[in-house]
Symmetry: C2
Subunit: 305 residues, 2 copies
């Protein structure tokens, strides 16, 4: 793999010259390294670009790394990855994405991920996105995630867009069977003229299923963010969504988190708050000796942590 990929891997995944576990490294649309384990098989799809990842029932404590990097302009990488997680497995999937452009051409990664968690499986899914390089070509990352949770399965998604992604549209849909749980923690930072859109659509189909979606965002410069979510309660279930956004400079944010209760025992809640950092918070940190800029940085990094 090339030097840029190596740098991106260190930012978006736990790469330190090596991965401890199963992995597949995608570089500019091609495979730059792959390793399966006894319990986790990674194979190329036959019909289209992408992977089939099979995790054996009962697999515990293993990690799967599937970073994808785009290291130059004029690449529009589209990949379909399917994760089949066997009954009772408990694993961590690390799916960072870095997009780099030093030229005027657009660099884009569009990862379409489908998760099929069997009964009682648990997955911690982490995803870091970053754009780098001094090129004027737009750096775009457009993830599409489809979550299918069988009875008692649970998925925790911990996603973060660090910086430098000019445009992102993030679509996540989920369908939950009885007692399944989906927890999402999303943090997005935009600056300059970047735009970010998040769409969640989660259906709580099974009895006692639950979803908890929390999105935190900071819009700086002239950036614009849009947050849409819809939680559909079709059974006895609990759903919560929260969208908190900090505005700075000329940043703007729209939030539209919908709830649809079509069952009398659905309990759905949402909250959203958009605003600047409170003046007294800045003041407090300035009395401790920080400049206004340092105080703002401190507050923002705490908010996105």
């Amino acid at each position: 793999m090339n030097k840029i990929t190596e740098t991106l891997l260190r930012i978006v995944s736990e790469y330190d010259g090596d991965f401890k576990g199963a992995f597949n490294i995608r570089e500019d649309g091609l495979c730059a390294g792959r390793q399966s384990t006894d319990n986790i098989k990674i194979e190329s799809k036959k019909d289209k670009p992408g992977l089939e990842i099979h995790i054996k029932p009962g697999t515990k404590g293993e990690k799967v790394f599937i970073p994808a990097c785009v290291t130059r302009g004029n690449i529009d990488d589209l990949v379909y990855n399917d994760f089949f997680v066997g009954e009772g497995a408990d694993v961590t999937i690390i799916a960072g994405c870095g997009v780099h452009s030093d030229d005027e051409e657009e660099a884009r990664h569009n990862g379409i991920h489908r998760f099929f968690l069997e009964k009682g499986a648990h997955v911690l899914y982490t995803e870091k996105h970053v754009g780098t390089g001094a090129g004027t070509g737009a750096k775009r990352i457009d993830p599409v995630t489809e979550v299918n949770l069988a009875e008692d399965a649970s998925l925790e998604m911990d996603t973060v867009q660090i910086r430098g992604v000019d445009s992102t549209v993030r679509k996540t849909t989920g369908t939950l069977a009885a007692r399944a749980k989906l927890v999402v923690r999303e943090r997005i930072m935009t600056d300059g003229y970047e735009t970010a859109q998040t769409d969640f659509d989660v259906t709580l189909a099974g009895e006692d299923s639950g979803a908890d979606l929390v999105s935190r965002s900071v819009a700086r410069g002239h950036s614009h963010q849009i947050f849409n979510s819809c939680i559909r309660g079709e059974n006895r279930c609990t759903g919560h969504s929260e969208c908190d956004a900090i505005l700075a400079d000329e940043g703007t944010v729209s939030a539209a988190p919908a709830l649809e209760a079509s069952h009398v025992d659905a309990e759905l809640i949402h909250e959203a708050a958009i605003g600047k950092i409170a003046g007294e918070q800045i003041l407090k940190l300035r009395t401790l000796g920080l400049t206004e800029e340092e105080a703002e940085e401190r507050i923002i990094s705490g908010f996105l942590k």
Copy 2:
């Protein structure tokens, strides 16, 4: 006026055989009584059905009653009422609506109200909606309200749909100048196969303008309610919307309260909660000697008060 109108007036307005203030009674699309005062002129529109209501600058403490009743099926009443409220006036406008049908034909009232509040004017606007009669014809009330608030003007809207309205679509739009305030308290009860939709769209255009929208609803039987709101912060402003819904029987509710902050000093918040009455609340009242039904009634009436 007929007996049904008289009964409806007692339910939806402060009618006790008479009105204390300016009034216009609309019955089945016609005028059944009108009175202006020195400060409040009520006149028929020249170009379409409806009224022009002019309230002189500085008018204080007066009331205007503009109830509208539909007393039989096969009436589709459409009315345009414009309220011009002079600088510094402080008045109460009472706009109840009752729709009655004893037959199989639909009875509908569609009131399109526009409010133009001059600088510093304050209006308390109350509106009660009810459907009555044993007819199978659908009873519909579809109010459209357009609010224009000049600098320092404020409008408090206190609206309630008591019962018996088969279908309602309630659209309210508002544009607020500097320091103007809009406060909305909406309460809607639906039962049977009734449907109710609320759409708010409020633009906080002026510096330090503010909106506070609170909707409480109870969906019983097989009824369905939809709550949509959008608060647009285009300046330094504060916006809050809240939608709380209680589900009973097979009632269903969707809520989609959007926020759009296009100014860095816009502070926008929303909250929504949909669910059944908590079991422990019922239990508490039952230990005080109430039946389960009585306990539920008590809680719902407190919630909608």
